[in-house]
Protein backbone atom coordinates (compact mmCIF):
# COMPACT_ATOMS: atom_id res chain seq x y z
CA UNK A 1 0.00 0.00 0.00
CA UNK A 2 1.26 3.46 -0.92
CA UNK A 3 2.66 5.45 1.95
CA UNK A 4 1.16 8.87 2.64
CA UNK A 5 3.74 9.96 5.22
CA UNK A 6 7.12 8.95 6.60
CA UNK A 7 8.33 8.44 10.15
CA UNK A 8 10.61 11.50 9.69
CA UNK A 9 7.58 13.61 8.80
CA UNK A 10 5.73 12.35 11.86
CA UNK A 11 8.74 13.16 14.07
CA UNK A 12 8.82 16.68 12.60
CA UNK A 13 5.18 17.11 13.58
CA UNK A 14 5.92 15.75 17.08
CA UNK A 15 8.73 18.31 17.39
CA UNK A 16 6.31 21.10 16.44
CA UNK A 17 3.58 19.71 18.71
CA UNK A 18 1.29 19.07 15.72
CA UNK A 19 1.15 15.27 15.66
CA UNK A 20 -2.32 13.77 15.93
CA UNK A 21 -2.12 10.83 18.34
CA UNK A 22 -4.92 8.52 19.44
CA UNK A 23 -4.95 5.29 21.45
CA UNK A 24 -5.72 1.98 19.76
CA UNK A 25 -9.00 1.91 21.67
CA UNK A 26 -10.00 5.33 20.28
CA UNK A 27 -8.88 4.28 16.79
CA UNK A 28 -11.49 1.49 16.67
CA UNK A 29 -14.30 4.07 16.80
CA UNK A 30 -12.55 6.51 14.45
CA UNK A 31 -12.10 3.87 11.72
CA UNK A 32 -15.67 2.66 12.26
CA UNK A 33 -17.11 6.16 11.91
CA UNK A 34 -14.93 7.71 9.26
CA UNK A 35 -13.47 4.76 7.40
CA UNK A 36 -9.81 3.87 7.08
CA UNK A 37 -9.04 6.36 4.29
CA UNK A 38 -10.09 9.43 6.28
CA UNK A 39 -8.60 7.97 9.47
CA UNK A 40 -5.25 7.52 7.70
CA UNK A 41 -5.30 11.16 6.61
CA UNK A 42 -6.21 12.51 10.03
CA UNK A 43 -4.22 10.31 12.41
CA UNK A 44 -0.41 10.24 12.61
CA UNK A 45 0.17 7.81 15.47
CA UNK A 46 -1.81 5.11 17.29
CA UNK A 47 -0.57 4.11 20.74
CA UNK A 48 -0.98 0.61 22.15
CA UNK A 49 -0.47 -0.81 25.63
CA UNK A 50 -0.41 -4.06 27.54
CA UNK A 51 0.47 -5.20 31.04
CA UNK A 52 0.73 -8.85 31.95
CA UNK A 53 2.82 -11.40 33.85
CA UNK A 54 6.08 -12.03 31.97
CA UNK A 55 7.70 -15.15 33.38
CA UNK A 56 10.47 -15.05 30.76
CA UNK A 57 11.86 -11.86 32.29
CA UNK A 58 14.88 -11.11 34.38
CA UNK A 59 17.48 -8.43 34.92
CA UNK A 60 21.19 -8.06 34.31
CA UNK A 61 23.12 -6.28 37.06
CA UNK A 62 26.66 -5.01 37.31
CA UNK A 63 27.76 -4.35 40.90
CA UNK A 64 31.22 -2.86 40.37
CA UNK A 65 34.28 -4.23 42.19
CA UNK A 66 34.92 -4.55 45.91
CA UNK A 67 38.41 -4.24 47.38
CA UNK A 68 39.91 -6.79 47.48
CA UNK A 69 37.88 -7.91 44.45
CA UNK A 70 35.75 -11.04 44.17
CA UNK A 71 34.75 -13.30 41.27
CA UNK A 72 31.36 -14.27 42.58
CA UNK A 73 30.60 -17.95 42.32
CA UNK A 74 27.33 -18.14 44.21
CA UNK A 75 25.24 -15.11 44.97
CA UNK A 76 21.86 -14.21 46.36
CA UNK A 77 19.85 -10.97 46.33
CA UNK A 78 17.49 -10.82 49.31
CA UNK A 79 17.90 -14.58 49.51
CA UNK A 80 17.02 -15.20 45.85
CA UNK A 81 19.71 -17.04 43.94
CA UNK A 82 20.98 -15.12 40.92
CA UNK A 83 22.72 -16.71 37.94
CA UNK A 84 26.45 -16.14 38.28
CA UNK A 85 27.81 -17.74 35.15
CA UNK A 86 28.91 -14.33 33.91
CA UNK A 87 31.93 -12.16 34.58
CA UNK A 88 33.20 -11.46 38.12
CA UNK A 89 30.56 -8.97 39.25
CA UNK A 90 27.82 -9.40 36.64
CA UNK A 91 24.74 -11.48 37.29
CA UNK A 92 21.33 -12.33 35.94
CA UNK A 93 18.32 -12.51 38.23
CA UNK A 94 15.36 -14.46 36.88
CA UNK A 95 11.87 -13.40 37.99
CA UNK A 96 10.63 -16.96 38.53
CA UNK A 97 13.49 -17.88 40.87
CA UNK A 98 11.82 -18.37 44.25
CA UNK A 99 13.04 -17.80 47.78
CA UNK A 100 13.97 -21.21 49.29
CA UNK A 101 11.61 -20.75 52.26
CA UNK A 102 9.09 -18.13 51.19
CA UNK A 103 8.53 -19.97 47.90
CA UNK A 104 5.60 -18.51 45.91
CA UNK A 105 5.42 -15.44 48.12
CA UNK A 106 8.79 -13.95 47.16
CA UNK A 107 10.98 -14.31 44.10
CA UNK A 108 13.24 -12.55 41.62
CA UNK A 109 10.37 -10.39 40.37
CA UNK A 110 9.80 -9.03 43.87
CA UNK A 111 13.50 -8.15 44.24
CA UNK A 112 13.36 -6.17 40.97
CA UNK A 113 10.21 -4.36 42.16
CA UNK A 114 11.86 -3.47 45.48
CA UNK A 115 14.96 -2.18 43.70
CA UNK A 116 12.97 0.19 41.48
CA UNK A 117 10.95 1.27 44.53
CA UNK A 118 14.22 2.55 46.03
CA UNK A 119 14.45 -0.16 48.70
CA UNK A 120 17.68 -1.67 50.01
CA UNK A 121 18.65 -5.14 48.83
CA UNK A 122 21.06 -7.52 50.54
CA UNK A 123 23.75 -9.02 48.32
CA UNK A 124 25.58 -12.06 49.62
CA UNK A 125 28.27 -13.75 47.54
CA UNK A 126 30.82 -16.51 47.94
CA UNK A 127 33.74 -17.42 45.72
CA UNK A 128 36.59 -19.94 45.45
CA UNK A 129 39.14 -17.10 45.18
CA UNK A 130 41.62 -16.65 42.36
CA UNK A 131 44.99 -14.92 42.08
CA UNK A 132 43.31 -11.94 40.47
CA UNK A 133 40.11 -12.09 42.57
CA UNK A 134 41.26 -13.29 46.02
CA UNK A 135 38.14 -12.43 48.04
CA UNK A 136 35.96 -15.40 49.05
CA UNK A 137 33.00 -13.81 50.80
CA UNK A 138 31.04 -10.61 50.53
CA UNK A 139 27.88 -9.32 52.16
CA UNK A 140 26.53 -5.83 51.59
CA UNK A 141 23.44 -3.68 51.22
CA UNK A 142 22.67 -2.01 47.88
CA UNK A 143 20.08 0.20 46.28
CA UNK A 144 19.40 0.68 42.57
CA UNK A 145 21.57 3.84 42.62
CA UNK A 146 24.55 1.77 43.76
CA UNK A 147 24.41 -0.48 40.69
CA UNK A 148 26.29 0.45 37.53
CA UNK A 149 23.79 -1.12 35.18
CA UNK A 150 20.40 -2.65 35.91
CA UNK A 151 18.79 -3.81 32.70
CA UNK A 152 15.40 -5.43 32.41
CA UNK A 153 15.53 -8.22 29.85
CA UNK A 154 12.21 -9.66 28.74
CA UNK A 155 12.75 -12.23 25.99
CA UNK A 156 9.04 -12.71 25.31
CA UNK A 157 6.44 -9.97 25.66
CA UNK A 158 3.42 -8.59 23.81
CA UNK A 159 1.95 -11.95 22.74
CA UNK A 160 -0.32 -10.96 19.89
CA UNK A 161 -3.15 -12.88 21.59
CA UNK A 162 -3.29 -15.64 24.16
CA UNK A 163 -5.29 -18.63 25.31
CA UNK A 164 -8.16 -18.56 27.79
CA UNK A 165 -7.81 -21.07 30.63
CA UNK A 166 -10.46 -23.11 32.42
CA UNK A 167 -10.57 -26.34 34.43
CA UNK A 168 -12.66 -29.50 33.86
CA UNK A 169 -11.40 -31.30 36.96
CA UNK A 170 -13.57 -31.61 40.08
CA UNK A 171 -10.93 -29.86 42.21
CA UNK A 172 -9.24 -26.46 42.20
CA UNK A 173 -6.07 -26.29 40.13
CA UNK A 174 -3.34 -23.68 40.53
CA UNK A 175 -1.69 -22.72 37.25
CA UNK A 176 0.32 -19.93 35.67
CA UNK A 177 -3.09 -18.80 34.45
CA UNK A 178 -4.19 -18.44 38.07
CA UNK A 179 -6.56 -20.27 40.39
CA UNK A 180 -9.03 -22.24 38.32
CA UNK A 181 -12.19 -23.42 40.06
CA UNK A 182 -13.59 -26.96 39.63
CA UNK A 183 -15.99 -27.95 36.86
CA UNK A 184 -15.41 -24.90 34.66
CA UNK A 185 -16.14 -22.64 37.66
CA UNK A 186 -14.17 -19.73 36.20
CA UNK A 187 -11.78 -18.81 33.41
CA UNK A 188 -8.85 -16.44 32.94
CA UNK A 189 -7.25 -14.84 29.91
CA UNK A 190 -4.29 -12.68 29.12
CA UNK A 191 -3.69 -9.85 26.68
CA UNK A 192 -5.28 -6.49 26.07
CA UNK A 193 -7.32 -7.29 22.93
CA UNK A 194 -7.68 -4.23 20.71
CA UNK A 195 -4.91 -2.45 22.67
CA UNK A 196 -2.43 -5.27 22.11
CA UNK A 197 0.60 -3.91 20.17
CA UNK A 198 1.18 -6.73 17.69
CA UNK A 199 -2.54 -7.18 16.95
CA UNK A 200 -2.51 -3.60 15.70
CA UNK A 201 0.40 -4.28 13.35
CA UNK A 202 -0.13 -7.96 12.51
CA UNK A 203 2.23 -7.93 9.52
CA UNK A 204 5.00 -6.29 11.56
CA UNK A 205 5.30 -3.38 9.13
CA UNK A 206 6.33 -0.82 11.76
CA UNK A 207 7.04 -2.89 14.86
CA UNK A 208 10.50 -4.42 14.55
CA UNK A 209 14.00 -4.61 15.94
CA UNK A 210 15.33 -1.29 17.20
CA UNK A 211 11.99 0.36 18.04
CA UNK A 212 11.90 2.70 21.01
CA UNK A 213 9.00 1.74 23.30
CA UNK A 214 7.35 2.37 26.68
CA UNK A 215 8.71 -0.27 29.06
CA UNK A 216 7.89 -0.47 32.76
CA UNK A 217 7.24 3.26 32.95
CA UNK A 218 10.51 4.20 31.23
CA UNK A 219 12.04 3.88 27.80
CA UNK A 220 12.92 0.48 26.40
CA UNK A 221 13.79 -1.07 23.06
CA UNK A 222 12.77 -4.02 20.95
CA UNK A 223 15.95 -6.03 20.54
CA UNK A 224 14.82 -9.17 18.74
CA UNK A 225 11.84 -11.23 17.74
CA UNK A 226 10.55 -12.73 20.97
CA UNK A 227 11.14 -16.32 22.01
CA UNK A 228 8.35 -18.64 20.83
CA UNK A 229 7.53 -16.06 18.12
CA UNK A 230 4.86 -17.81 16.06
CA UNK A 231 3.71 -15.38 13.36
CA UNK A 232 1.81 -17.87 11.20
CA UNK A 233 -0.59 -18.60 14.06
CA UNK A 234 -0.91 -14.88 14.86
CA UNK A 235 1.07 -15.50 18.04
CA UNK A 236 3.95 -13.10 17.41
CA UNK A 237 6.14 -11.94 20.30
CA UNK A 238 8.98 -9.45 20.83
CA UNK A 239 12.08 -9.37 22.99
CA UNK A 240 12.61 -6.11 24.88
CA UNK A 241 15.28 -4.49 27.02
CA UNK A 242 15.17 -1.39 29.17
CA UNK A 243 16.95 0.56 31.88
CA UNK A 244 15.47 -0.38 35.27
CA UNK A 245 16.59 2.98 36.66
CA UNK A 246 13.83 4.66 34.63
CA UNK A 247 11.10 2.22 35.62
CA UNK A 248 8.27 2.58 38.11
CA UNK A 249 6.68 -0.02 40.42
CA UNK A 250 3.28 0.93 39.03
CA UNK A 251 4.29 -0.74 35.74
CA UNK A 252 6.74 -3.36 36.99
CA UNK A 253 5.48 -5.42 39.88
CA UNK A 254 6.52 -8.73 41.40
CA UNK A 255 3.83 -11.41 41.21
CA UNK A 256 2.97 -14.62 43.07
CA UNK A 257 1.02 -17.42 41.48
CA UNK A 258 0.21 -19.87 44.27
CA UNK A 259 1.18 -23.41 43.36
CA UNK A 260 3.02 -22.26 40.24
CA UNK A 261 5.71 -19.72 41.05
CA UNK A 262 6.75 -16.10 41.11
CA UNK A 263 6.80 -13.75 38.14
CA UNK A 264 6.70 -10.07 37.27
CA UNK A 265 4.11 -7.81 35.69
CA UNK A 266 5.62 -5.74 32.90
CA UNK A 267 3.88 -2.74 31.34
CA UNK A 268 4.68 -2.18 27.67
CA UNK A 269 3.44 0.25 25.03
CA UNK A 270 4.34 0.69 21.38
CA UNK A 271 3.42 3.58 19.09
CA UNK A 272 2.36 2.70 15.58
CA UNK A 273 2.99 5.31 12.89
CA UNK A 274 0.09 5.49 10.43
CA UNK A 275 2.15 5.46 7.26
CA UNK A 276 -0.68 4.33 4.99
CA UNK A 277 -4.36 3.47 4.85
CA UNK A 278 -3.61 -0.19 5.46
CA UNK A 279 -2.13 0.62 8.85
CA UNK A 280 -5.13 2.80 9.71
CA UNK A 281 -7.39 -0.14 8.92
CA UNK A 282 -5.24 -2.59 10.90
CA UNK A 283 -5.07 -0.34 13.96
CA UNK A 284 -8.86 -0.14 13.81
CA UNK A 285 -9.00 -3.81 14.82
CA UNK A 286 -11.71 -4.45 17.40
CA UNK A 287 -11.90 -6.89 20.32
CA UNK A 288 -14.35 -9.07 18.32
CA UNK A 289 -11.74 -9.64 15.62
CA UNK A 290 -9.06 -10.94 18.00
CA UNK A 291 -9.59 -14.61 18.77
CA UNK A 292 -8.64 -16.73 21.75
CA UNK A 293 -9.01 -20.47 22.27
CA UNK A 294 -10.57 -21.63 25.52
CA UNK A 295 -8.30 -24.45 26.73
CA UNK A 296 -8.77 -27.05 29.44
CA UNK A 297 -5.80 -26.53 31.75
CA UNK A 298 -6.80 -29.62 33.74
CA UNK A 299 -5.08 -31.63 31.02
CA UNK A 300 -1.37 -31.52 31.76
CA UNK A 301 -0.21 -32.03 28.22
CA UNK A 302 1.51 -29.84 25.63
CA UNK A 303 -1.61 -29.67 23.50
CA UNK A 304 -4.51 -28.94 25.79
CA UNK A 305 -8.02 -29.63 24.46
CA UNK A 306 -9.64 -26.62 22.77
CA UNK A 307 -13.14 -26.24 24.24
CA UNK A 308 -14.20 -23.37 21.98
CA UNK A 309 -12.97 -20.31 20.12
CA UNK A 310 -13.87 -17.02 21.74
CA UNK A 311 -12.82 -13.40 21.16
CA UNK A 312 -11.69 -10.52 23.34
CA UNK A 313 -15.12 -8.82 23.21
CA UNK A 314 -16.75 -11.84 24.82
CA UNK A 315 -13.85 -12.14 27.29
CA UNK A 316 -14.07 -8.47 28.30
CA UNK A 317 -17.83 -8.89 28.89
CA UNK A 318 -16.90 -10.96 31.97
CA UNK A 319 -18.75 -14.11 30.90
CA UNK A 320 -17.81 -16.76 28.40
CA UNK A 321 -20.45 -19.18 27.16
CA UNK A 322 -19.41 -22.83 27.30
CA UNK A 323 -22.04 -25.46 26.47
CA UNK A 324 -24.93 -23.19 27.55
CA UNK A 325 -23.14 -22.40 30.81
CA UNK A 326 -21.97 -18.85 31.49
CA UNK A 327 -18.54 -18.96 33.04
CA UNK A 328 -17.17 -15.91 34.86
CA UNK A 329 -14.00 -14.79 33.11
CA UNK A 330 -11.47 -12.07 33.96
CA UNK A 331 -8.00 -11.23 32.73
CA UNK A 332 -4.78 -11.96 34.56
CA UNK A 333 -3.30 -9.00 32.77
CA UNK A 334 -4.68 -5.54 33.51
CA UNK A 335 -7.04 -3.80 31.09
CA UNK A 336 -7.05 -0.60 33.15
CA UNK A 337 -3.26 -0.37 33.21
CA UNK A 338 -3.08 -1.22 29.49
CA UNK A 339 -5.39 1.70 28.72
CA UNK A 340 -3.31 3.91 30.99
CA UNK A 341 -0.06 2.95 29.24
CA UNK A 342 -1.54 3.79 25.82
CA UNK A 343 -2.63 7.17 27.26
CA UNK A 344 0.77 7.91 28.81
CA UNK A 345 2.53 7.11 25.55
CA UNK A 346 0.05 9.36 23.75
CA UNK A 347 0.87 12.20 26.16
CA UNK A 348 4.62 11.70 25.78
CA UNK A 349 4.30 12.00 21.99
CA UNK A 350 1.93 14.99 22.18
CA UNK A 351 4.32 16.74 24.56
CA UNK A 352 7.23 16.11 22.19
CA UNK A 353 9.26 13.96 24.57
CA UNK A 354 8.97 10.67 22.69
CA UNK A 355 9.91 10.17 19.04
CA UNK A 356 9.14 7.30 16.72
CA UNK A 357 11.71 4.94 15.22
CA UNK A 358 11.72 2.85 12.08
CA UNK A 359 12.76 -0.77 12.67
CA UNK A 360 16.34 -1.57 11.65
CA UNK A 361 15.20 -5.13 10.91
CA UNK A 362 11.71 -6.56 10.52
CA UNK A 363 10.37 -9.38 12.67
CA UNK A 364 10.21 -12.78 11.01
CA UNK A 365 6.88 -13.55 9.34
CA UNK A 366 7.54 -17.23 8.72
CA UNK A 367 9.30 -18.54 11.83
CA UNK A 368 7.83 -21.81 13.07
CA UNK A 369 7.48 -22.41 16.81
CA UNK A 370 8.61 -26.01 17.24
CA UNK A 371 7.91 -28.33 20.16
CA UNK A 372 10.84 -29.78 22.09
CA UNK A 373 12.57 -32.62 20.26
CA UNK A 374 12.73 -35.54 22.65
CA UNK A 375 15.00 -38.26 21.27
CA UNK A 376 13.68 -41.09 23.39
CA UNK A 377 10.60 -41.17 25.53
CA UNK A 378 11.59 -42.57 28.90
CA UNK A 379 8.95 -44.90 30.31
CA UNK A 380 7.71 -44.36 33.85
CA UNK A 381 7.46 -46.93 36.62
CA UNK A 382 3.66 -46.94 36.35
CA UNK A 383 3.91 -47.78 32.66
CA UNK A 384 6.16 -50.81 33.05
CA UNK A 385 5.07 -52.20 36.42
CA UNK A 386 3.44 -55.61 36.83
CA UNK A 387 0.56 -56.43 39.13
CA UNK A 388 2.05 -57.13 42.54
CA UNK A 389 1.37 -60.52 44.11
CA UNK A 390 0.58 -59.91 47.78
CA UNK A 391 0.13 -61.83 50.99
CA UNK A 392 -0.78 -61.05 54.58
CA UNK A 393 1.59 -61.04 57.52
CA UNK A 394 -0.43 -63.88 59.07
CA UNK A 395 0.03 -66.16 56.02
CA UNK A 396 2.27 -69.15 56.61
CA UNK A 397 5.34 -70.03 54.54
CA UNK A 398 3.49 -72.76 52.60
CA UNK A 399 0.86 -70.33 51.37
CA UNK A 400 3.50 -67.88 50.18
CA UNK A 401 5.46 -70.68 48.47
CA UNK A 402 2.27 -71.75 46.67
CA UNK A 403 1.64 -68.18 45.49
CA UNK A 404 5.17 -67.95 44.07
CA UNK A 405 4.62 -71.14 42.06
CA UNK A 406 1.01 -70.42 41.00
CA UNK A 407 1.69 -66.83 39.92
CA UNK A 408 5.14 -67.61 38.51
CA UNK A 409 6.84 -64.73 40.32
CA UNK A 410 9.92 -64.29 42.48
CA UNK A 411 8.57 -61.61 44.82
CA UNK A 412 5.55 -61.50 47.10
CA UNK A 413 4.71 -58.21 48.82
CA UNK A 414 3.50 -58.43 52.41
CA UNK A 415 0.69 -55.93 53.01
CA UNK A 416 -1.86 -54.94 55.66
CA UNK A 417 -5.66 -54.78 55.15
CA UNK A 418 -5.34 -51.43 53.33
CA UNK A 419 -2.61 -52.77 51.02
CA UNK A 420 0.07 -50.73 52.79
CA UNK A 421 3.46 -52.30 52.26
CA UNK A 422 4.93 -54.06 55.30
CA UNK A 423 7.68 -56.10 53.69
CA UNK A 424 8.72 -58.28 50.80
CA UNK A 425 9.71 -61.92 50.55
CA UNK A 426 11.47 -63.61 47.66
CA UNK A 427 11.62 -67.22 46.52
CA UNK A 428 15.14 -67.28 47.99
CA UNK A 429 13.75 -66.19 51.41
CA UNK A 430 11.28 -69.08 51.29
CA UNK A 431 13.97 -71.58 50.36
CA UNK A 432 16.09 -70.26 53.20
CA UNK A 433 13.17 -70.58 55.62
CA UNK A 434 12.69 -74.24 54.70
CA UNK A 435 16.44 -74.89 55.08
CA UNK A 436 16.60 -73.22 58.49
CA UNK A 437 13.27 -74.49 59.78
CA UNK A 438 11.59 -71.08 60.15
CA UNK A 439 7.81 -70.94 59.73
CA UNK A 440 6.81 -67.35 60.41
CA UNK A 441 6.71 -64.87 57.51
CA UNK A 442 7.72 -61.95 59.76
CA UNK A 443 11.00 -63.75 60.52
CA UNK A 444 12.10 -64.09 56.93
CA UNK A 445 10.68 -61.11 55.03
CA UNK A 446 12.70 -57.95 54.25
CA UNK A 447 11.16 -55.14 56.28
CA UNK A 448 13.07 -52.10 55.01
CA UNK A 449 11.88 -52.34 51.45
CA UNK A 450 13.34 -50.11 48.72
CA UNK A 451 10.35 -48.74 46.81
CA UNK A 452 9.67 -46.39 43.93
CA UNK A 453 6.94 -43.91 43.00
CA UNK A 454 4.65 -44.39 39.98
CA UNK A 455 5.98 -41.21 38.28
CA UNK A 456 9.64 -42.22 38.62
CA UNK A 457 11.34 -42.91 35.30
CA UNK A 458 12.74 -46.31 34.42
CA UNK A 459 16.25 -44.80 34.80
CA UNK A 460 15.57 -44.10 38.47
CA UNK A 461 14.21 -47.65 38.91
CA UNK A 462 17.29 -49.19 37.27
CA UNK A 463 19.57 -47.07 39.44
CA UNK A 464 17.81 -48.20 42.62
CA UNK A 465 17.93 -51.87 41.60
CA UNK A 466 21.65 -51.65 40.90
CA UNK A 467 22.59 -49.58 43.95
CA UNK A 468 20.80 -51.89 46.37
CA UNK A 469 21.61 -55.09 44.49
CA UNK A 470 17.95 -56.14 44.36
CA UNK A 471 15.76 -57.56 41.61
CA UNK A 472 12.39 -55.87 42.16
CA UNK A 473 10.93 -52.58 43.36
CA UNK A 474 7.42 -52.31 44.78
CA UNK A 475 5.67 -49.21 43.37
CA UNK A 476 3.84 -47.38 46.16
CA UNK A 477 1.63 -44.30 46.32
CA UNK A 478 1.90 -41.43 48.82
CA UNK A 479 0.26 -43.52 51.56
CA UNK A 480 2.73 -46.38 51.01
CA UNK A 481 -0.02 -48.48 49.43
CA UNK A 482 1.29 -50.91 46.85
CA UNK A 483 0.11 -50.33 43.28
CA UNK A 484 2.49 -52.58 41.36
CA UNK A 485 6.00 -53.94 41.10
CA UNK A 486 8.89 -53.17 38.75
CA UNK A 487 11.20 -56.14 38.19
CA UNK A 488 14.69 -56.29 36.72
CA UNK A 489 13.39 -58.90 34.23
CA UNK A 490 10.96 -56.31 32.89
CA UNK A 491 13.68 -53.69 32.48
CA UNK A 492 15.92 -56.25 30.74
CA UNK A 493 13.13 -57.12 28.33
CA UNK A 494 12.64 -53.40 27.51
CA UNK A 495 16.34 -53.09 26.70
CA UNK A 496 16.36 -56.23 24.56
CA UNK A 497 13.47 -54.82 22.48
CA UNK A 498 15.50 -51.71 21.72
Amino acid sequence: MENIRTIEEINDKIRKGDAVVVTAEEMVDIVNEKGSKVAAKEIDVVTTGTLGAMCSSGAFFNFGHSDPPIKMEKLTLNGIEAYHGNAAVDCYLGVTKMHPERRFEYGGGHVIEELISGKEIELEATAYGTDCYPRKFLKTILTLDDLNQAILCNPRNAYQRYATATNSRDEIIYTYMGKLLPNYGNATYSGAGSLSPLSNDPDYETIGIGNRIFLGGGIGYITNEGTQHDPKNKLGTIMVHGDLKQMKPEFLKGASFTGYGTSIYVGLGIPIPILNEGLAKKTGISDEEIKSNVLDYAVGRRNRPVLKETNYAELKSGKVLLDDKEIPVTPLSSIKESVEISNILKKWIEKGTFFLTAPVERLSRDRIFKPLKVVSEIPLAKEIMNVAVTCKLSDDIDTVAKKIIDENVNHVAVVDEDYRLLGISTSFDITKAVATGKTKLSDIMTKNVITTKPEDSVNICAKKLEEHNISALPVVDRDNKIIGIVTSEKISSLLSKE
Binding site: K179, T188, K253, S334, E337
Partner: protein, 127 residues
Protein backbone atom coordinates in the same frame (compact mmCIF):
# COMPACT_ATOMS: atom_id res chain seq x y z
CA UNK B 1 -23.29 -4.68 60.26
CA UNK B 2 -20.29 -7.02 60.04
CA UNK B 3 -18.59 -7.81 63.35
CA UNK B 4 -15.37 -9.81 63.63
CA UNK B 5 -14.63 -11.68 66.86
CA UNK B 6 -11.38 -13.04 68.21
CA UNK B 7 -12.02 -15.55 70.96
CA UNK B 8 -9.24 -16.60 73.33
CA UNK B 9 -8.09 -20.23 73.18
CA UNK B 10 -9.35 -20.94 76.71
CA UNK B 11 -12.83 -19.65 75.80
CA UNK B 12 -13.43 -21.39 72.47
CA UNK B 13 -15.63 -24.07 74.05
CA UNK B 14 -17.85 -21.52 75.88
CA UNK B 15 -21.26 -20.87 74.27
CA UNK B 16 -20.51 -17.14 74.06
CA UNK B 17 -22.40 -16.45 70.82
CA UNK B 18 -25.51 -18.33 72.05
CA UNK B 19 -25.37 -16.37 75.30
CA UNK B 20 -25.27 -13.05 73.44
CA UNK B 21 -28.09 -14.10 71.08
CA UNK B 22 -30.33 -15.06 74.02
CA UNK B 23 -29.35 -12.13 76.21
CA UNK B 24 -29.81 -9.49 73.51
CA UNK B 25 -32.64 -11.28 71.68
CA UNK B 26 -30.78 -10.51 68.46
CA UNK B 27 -30.80 -12.36 65.15
CA UNK B 28 -27.12 -12.95 64.59
CA UNK B 29 -25.89 -14.63 61.44
CA UNK B 30 -22.59 -16.55 61.66
CA UNK B 31 -20.84 -16.01 58.32
CA UNK B 32 -17.67 -17.89 59.09
CA UNK B 33 -15.95 -19.50 62.05
CA UNK B 34 -12.48 -20.94 62.43
CA UNK B 35 -10.91 -22.50 65.49
CA UNK B 36 -7.26 -23.41 65.78
CA UNK B 37 -4.47 -23.41 68.35
CA UNK B 38 -4.48 -19.61 68.38
CA UNK B 39 -8.13 -19.40 69.37
CA UNK B 40 -11.32 -18.68 67.45
CA UNK B 41 -12.07 -16.24 64.63
CA UNK B 42 -15.72 -15.63 63.88
CA UNK B 43 -17.39 -13.28 61.45
CA UNK B 44 -20.94 -12.21 62.27
CA UNK B 45 -23.68 -10.22 60.62
CA UNK B 46 -25.62 -8.38 63.35
CA UNK B 47 -28.69 -6.11 63.15
CA UNK B 48 -27.52 -2.49 62.68
CA UNK B 49 -29.71 -1.09 65.47
CA UNK B 50 -28.33 -3.56 68.02
CA UNK B 51 -24.65 -3.42 67.01
CA UNK B 52 -23.53 -1.28 69.91
CA UNK B 53 -25.05 -3.40 72.68
CA UNK B 54 -24.03 -6.66 71.02
CA UNK B 55 -20.42 -5.49 70.74
CA UNK B 56 -20.47 -4.51 74.42
CA UNK B 57 -21.91 -7.90 75.38
CA UNK B 58 -19.11 -9.73 73.53
CA UNK B 59 -16.46 -7.51 75.12
CA UNK B 60 -17.95 -8.30 78.53
CA UNK B 61 -17.26 -11.98 77.76
CA UNK B 62 -13.61 -11.08 77.11
CA UNK B 63 -13.87 -11.29 73.32
CA UNK B 64 -11.88 -8.94 71.08
CA UNK B 65 -14.30 -7.26 68.69
CA UNK B 66 -13.74 -5.33 65.48
CA UNK B 67 -16.62 -3.57 63.78
CA UNK B 68 -17.02 -2.45 60.21
CA UNK B 69 -13.91 -2.79 58.07
CA UNK B 70 -13.39 -6.43 57.24
CA UNK B 71 -11.66 -6.34 53.86
CA UNK B 72 -9.47 -3.91 51.96
CA UNK B 73 -7.86 -3.96 48.53
CA UNK B 74 -4.51 -2.21 48.89
CA UNK B 75 -4.44 0.24 45.99
CA UNK B 76 -0.65 0.54 45.82
CA UNK B 77 -0.32 -3.21 45.37
CA UNK B 78 -3.36 -4.01 43.20
CA UNK B 79 -2.68 -4.29 39.44
CA UNK B 80 -6.43 -4.35 38.73
CA UNK B 81 -6.30 -7.63 36.81
CA UNK B 82 -9.61 -8.77 38.25
CA UNK B 83 -8.76 -12.42 38.87
CA UNK B 84 -10.32 -12.13 42.34
CA UNK B 85 -13.68 -11.26 40.77
CA UNK B 86 -14.27 -14.80 39.46
CA UNK B 87 -13.25 -16.32 42.79
CA UNK B 88 -15.66 -14.27 44.91
CA UNK B 89 -18.80 -16.33 45.65
CA UNK B 90 -20.87 -13.33 46.78
CA UNK B 91 -20.01 -10.76 44.07
CA UNK B 92 -18.36 -8.44 46.60
CA UNK B 93 -15.60 -7.65 44.07
CA UNK B 94 -16.44 -6.39 40.60
CA UNK B 95 -15.16 -4.33 37.69
CA UNK B 96 -16.09 -0.64 37.59
CA UNK B 97 -16.83 0.81 34.15
CA UNK B 98 -13.17 1.67 33.53
CA UNK B 99 -12.00 -1.79 34.63
CA UNK B 100 -10.89 -0.52 38.02
CA UNK B 101 -11.59 -3.00 40.82
CA UNK B 102 -14.69 -2.22 42.84
CA UNK B 103 -15.40 -3.61 46.30
CA UNK B 104 -18.68 -3.88 48.21
CA UNK B 105 -17.44 -4.50 51.74
CA UNK B 106 -20.92 -5.30 53.04
CA UNK B 107 -21.15 -8.36 50.82
CA UNK B 108 -17.81 -9.89 51.86
CA UNK B 109 -18.11 -13.00 54.03
CA UNK B 110 -14.35 -13.43 54.52
CA UNK B 111 -14.31 -16.81 52.80
CA UNK B 112 -10.67 -16.18 51.84
CA UNK B 113 -11.06 -17.58 48.30
CA UNK B 114 -9.55 -14.42 46.82
CA UNK B 115 -6.47 -14.30 49.04
CA UNK B 116 -4.22 -16.84 47.36
CA UNK B 117 -5.40 -15.99 43.85
CA UNK B 118 -4.20 -12.37 44.01
CA UNK B 119 -0.89 -12.19 42.11
CA UNK B 120 0.23 -9.09 44.02
CA UNK B 121 -1.23 -10.13 47.41
CA UNK B 122 -3.21 -6.90 47.49
CA UNK B 123 -6.21 -8.19 49.46
CA UNK B 124 -6.23 -7.77 53.22
CA UNK B 125 -8.80 -9.20 55.62
CA UNK B 126 -9.42 -7.69 59.04
CA UNK B 127 -10.64 -9.27 62.22
Amino acid sequence: MKVALRIKTENVTDPIISNVILEKKARINILSAQVNEKGGKVLLEVPDEKTEEIVKAFRDFGVEVEVGKIIEILKDKCMECGHCITLCPVDAIFFEKDYAIGLDENKCIQCRACLDCCPTRAIKLYG
